[in-house]
Amino acid sequence: MTLTPSPPATSVPAPLVQDPAARRSLWAGSVIDVDVHAQVPSAETLFPYLARQWVDWCTERNWKQPQGPLAHYPPTSPRTCRPEWRPEDGRTPASDVALLREHVLDPWDVEAAIVNCYYGVDSIRQPDWHNAMTRAVNDWLVEEWLGRDPRLRASMVLPARDPRSMVEEIHRIGAHPGIVQVLLPVRTDALWGRRMFFPVFEAMAEHGLVAGLHYGGTPDGVPSTTGYPSYFIEEYAAEWQAFGSQITSMVAEGVFQVVPELRVSVLEGGFLWLPAWGWRMNKDWKGLRREVPWVTEPPFDVVRRHFRFSTAPTEAGPDAMLQTALGWLRSEDLLMFATDYPHGHDDDLAQLLGAMTESMRAKTMAENAREWYALA
């Protein structure tokens, strides 16, 4: 791989600055942001979208919010919200379109952004309430986000514990022109490749929706592969293992033979663990492929065709090593820029772009996402 030696003209230190000139000095071309968050500020926000029975269900219990996100995103952590993006008036970060415009869409001259709401509805075990809250979040996204800025597209959320309800919800709202993706928590009761989920992926394909595998999830099991971590850093830094397990499952179980048009975005999952995963899978596939004879090509090739990865967080090491590691992806088509607003991953976009060829920069900042999400 030949790399353009010159890094972008001005090196803008992380975090991103809310400054149009700095943005242009870093990257003058189009920007599509594939992961900005909409955060439900309170249960009351959703009451207009809930039947009376479920409003009462919340108020009778003095229920405030799903528990999952409190663990995944400790409320005052700078990982949860960059300090400069935290509203001074105490409002919930990223809780309305005006904040998103002020912090990202306008200063960064974003052509399109995909709104992901990790509210954690899968923390709710009561199945009917779970479904009602899912519908409420999706209707809130359509009404108060998609309806208020033409640059926005959104991921719908799912009742991730029940495949039949998942399919129903996809058919209920998946045809909305602003809905381009279905958000799937990366931690689940069962791996996403399992056959019980095939109808869910078929329903997504029917509506041309991307599957967005996203950080978080509150399954019955433990957050790591073997037990509960003691510290947030363990959960945060090791989450890529859950992504690795899900990708392995989806490839091995044959999801892409059943739904050949399925596209999967890995959001907040990192991407430099991928080459090591790919080498290992390709090696083992040669001798173990009899188990999974529907996998007729090297698994890394399947991933290059069916998966894309958001750039936040970036597992960047020293510049020269980052450049080498990006080459291991063997493709310029895999990465899609994301601010992950309002989360703060301590990423240095200048460093990442500096390690890329000019063509890979353009693809990463906008073109890969434009094609992946069929954005006009």
């Binding site: 044959g254 009899r290 004879p293």
Partner: protein
Amino acid sequence: MSTRRYVVARAADLADGEKMAVEVGGRSVAIFNVRGTFYGLLNRCPHRGADLCAGRFLPRVTAAVPGEYHYDTDQTFLACPWHGWEFDVTTGQSYFDPVGMRGRPYSVEIENGAVVASELEAGTLAVSRMTPQQYAAAVGGAGTGMQPGPLHAETVTVEVEDDYLVVDLRPQRPQRRTP
């Protein structure tokens, strides 16, 4: 006169579905009887050099989608004993990368004993370095108990009514797998 063709066994010694390794020209060659046709492969997996002849024959299994298997017992692959890579012994091609990863095939022909005898005499055919059992089989029992070693053509008893397997070490053009 040097030759690269070796008589290695009586055809009757290798039944349908069986395999054995023979040493010819300083190398081990695995020979296979696949429904009456004989094939040879360098007895060294192209991956890490394992003894391919120690592998198992496994039916070809394919599937277009999960769970809808086509389990074809008419076509078997030899699975390497070390890492399970599957090979088509009729061509040497690996299953996962038929073009880029393949074993080295050798042709194995059946020759009538009369032809073998005259070729041995003419020096256009040599005798393999055999195991005592193979030697015994090839010489009709007369050599039982002998140590394997470089043999001279004149010590071999060839029965004119028998058929023999002849391994040709000259490079052969790779064949395409029959569909």
